[in-house]
């Protein structure tokens, strides 16, 4: 169920603005890769290119290559909708569909793609909610609106919604930045469990979080405002935090800037 991502020499543009330059990296299957770096370094932008979500913003385009195992995500014949079904995403702010119940939220991805069988849906909703550690909390109120949950629960609902379509890879864009510490902990535990099944990439502002949840860490930086962001280095998380090969990584880790 989990695939590996190979990125080769990727540039990301918004209109004429080059947001990210020359990124090459490999994301290992069944592991958690964290992206860290100062604000505006392009880590979120880069994350969005991994499932072509950058394309929904006007002017967004890339140069370079992104391979999911042996599939080229940017091949001309590749449909971005298919890419996004294969590579799911969880956003910074929990965004359950406000008009839908908890059940409908989890089932949304399947339903909107035409799955109608009630039994199939029931099964997937339950397993997804269990997978997101939310089942026990919501099983008695599946028909209540998803917007009525707490922020942390909503975020886990969004994770359940994302894994319900059974993606290969799960991208998380600062999934805890809008949550309180206890909810954050619950999400981090969840990430640890999910990595046995999915390839997970997480962008985080919080270095401790990267250290806690990830196996590998990528550090992004930019020379100056208006310059494109670059990948400085990617390595095992322990190595990045204890003995990075680049001076700027060490400066950032030790809090000298950023």
């Amino acid at each position: 169920m989990a695939k590996r991502i190979d990125v080769t020499d990727l540039n990301v543009y918004y209109g004429s603005f080059k947001a990210v330059e020359g990124v090459s990296m490999t994301v290992e299957p069944r592991s958690v890769t964290a992206f860290i770096g100062p604000s505006g370094c392009g880590k979120s932008t880069f994350l969005r290119t991994l499932n072509r979500m950058h394309e929904v913003i006007p002017g967004g385009r890339v140069e370079g290559k992104v391979m999911l195992d042996d599939q080229d995500l940017y091949a001309p014949s590749m449909d971005p909708v298919t890419v996004r079904r294969t590579i799911g995403m969880v956003f910074q702010r929990p965004n359950p569909f406000p008009t839908m119940s908890i059940y409908d939220n989890v089932a949304a991805g399947l339903r909107l793609n035409g799955v109608k069988n009630k039994k199939t849906l029931d099964g997937i909703v339950e397993s997804s909610l269990k997978g997101a550690n939310l089942w026990t909390e919501v099983k008695d109120r599946l028909n209540k609106p998803g917007a009525g949950l707490s922020g942390g629960q909503q975020q886990r609902l969004c994770i359940a919604r994302a894994i319900a379509v059974q993606p290969q890879v799960l991208l998380m864009d600062e999934p805890c930045s809008a949550l309180d510490p206890i909810s954050t902990l619950a999400i981090e535990d969840l990430i640890n469990e999910l990595k046995s099944e999915f390839t997970i990439v997480i962008v985080t502002h919080n270095m401790q979080q990267a250290a806690r949840v990830s196996d590998r860490t990528a550090f992004f930086n930019l020379k100056a405002t208006g310059e494109p962001g670059r990948l400085i280095e990617i390595d095992d998380t322990t190595r990045i935090f204890n003995n990075p090969s680049e001076q700027s990584t060490e400066d950032y880790i030790s809090g000298r800037f950023g």
Binding site: T82, R85, N95, T99, N113, A147, R161
Partner: protein
């Protein structure tokens, strides 16, 4: 916003000379030492306050006056069963009685037809402007919607006349009038739908895209679904707006006192035209009474739509 400024100035409504200037007691003492300018400023402040209240009550005078006129002169006919069931067939201006059902049904049927055409065009146009449109075409469309919203109803009616009657040689009918109303309703639906679609947070669109949902399904099942109640409200307000339009009817849909359900052939009864008919003889008590009653009926219909629209907006709005 302004609630905060009110807190700053709790004494706003008190006796003018004693009004506390912002800055509290110390500020007041400081200002008092400045002498008369302080006083002049306060006087101006009070005058401004009085003028604003005056403006509001001035604006209320015609409202109350109009409603009072219509209700006091028209209400009692509405109490009779005949008003809601009968028509005006064979009833002359100096005869009392008769009903308005033909005109009520006609008006509803006509605006129903109008909505049937204008709503899809309006909603799709708004979807284009918010979800698809960029660049020159979107600007051009947005601009023409503005122009259309400024087109006087008489001009819309003349245009349909020029097309329908002069060019195609068809005869005047309820449907021709409905077409003119379509022109007046489209911009209302476009603008209100557009506003509602813009209120749908981008996060919801992103969430759907990230689930691998095609764009059109996202727009239909997520964006339009989320904005649904707001769109309905806009549609109802649009219907309310065209319901009272008279000029297109005057030019395109001659009145009949009979029941008439055929929008495509012959004269067509509507409330505004019924009012217009009896206005010709308003010196006669019988005609005047009918005229005011028809006017009250029209106001009630319009208000009903407005109220339903607002109630839907209130209860349907997504609780954050």
């Amino acid at each position: 916003m302004s609630a905060i400024t009110d807190e700053r100035r709790p004494d706003d409504a008190s006796v003018p000379d004693d009004a506390t200037p912002p800055g509290g007691r110390q500020g007041r003492d400081a200002l008092r030492q400045m002498g008369s300018p302080h006083r002049a400023r306060n006087v101006k402040d009070v005058i401004a306050r009085v003028v604003m209240w005056f403006c509001f009550f001035l604006a209320m005078i015609p409202l109350v006056w109009i409603l009072w006129t219509v209700i006091s002169k028209g209400a009692h006919l509405l109490g009779s069963m005949e008003w809601w069931t009968g028509n005006q067939r064979n009833i002359n201006s100096d005869d009392a009685g008769g009903g308005a059902r033909h005109a009520i049904e006609g008006t509803l049927q006509m605006v129903g037809m109008t909505a049937l055409i204008a709503v899809p065009i309006g909603i799709f146009t708004a979807v284009y402007l918010v979800e698809y449109g960029r660049g020159k075409l979107a600007r051009a469309i947005s601009f023409t919607v503005d122009i259309l919203s400024g087109v006087p109803s008489i001009v819309a009616a003349l245009f349909i006349y020029a097309v329908w009657v002069t060019t195609f040689g068809l005869s005047r009918s309820g449907f021709a009038a409905a077409l003119a109303l379509v022109l007046l309703m489209i911009p209302v639906v476009v603008r209100s739908t557009e506003e509602m679609l813009k209120l749908v947070p981008n996060e919801l669109r992103e969430a759907a895209y990230a689930l691998g949902v095609p764009k059109w399904v996202t727009v239909v099942k997520v964006v339009l679904r989320t904005a649904f109640s707001g769109i309905i409200t806009g549609v109802l307000l649009g219907i309310a707006r065209v319901m009272g339009e008279t000029a297109p009817l005057l030019i395109l849909a001659p009145y009949t006192k009979n029941f008439q359900r055929d929008l495509f052939n012959g004269n067509f009864p509507t409330l505004p035209m019924m009012i217009n008919q009896d206005r010709g003889d308003f010196a006669l008590a019988t005609a005047a009474e009918r005229m005011w009653a028809a006017a009250l009926t029209l106001i009630i219909l319009v208000l009903l739509l407005n109220i339903i629209g607002r109630v839907i907006a209130y209860f349907g709005s997504v609780k954050k």
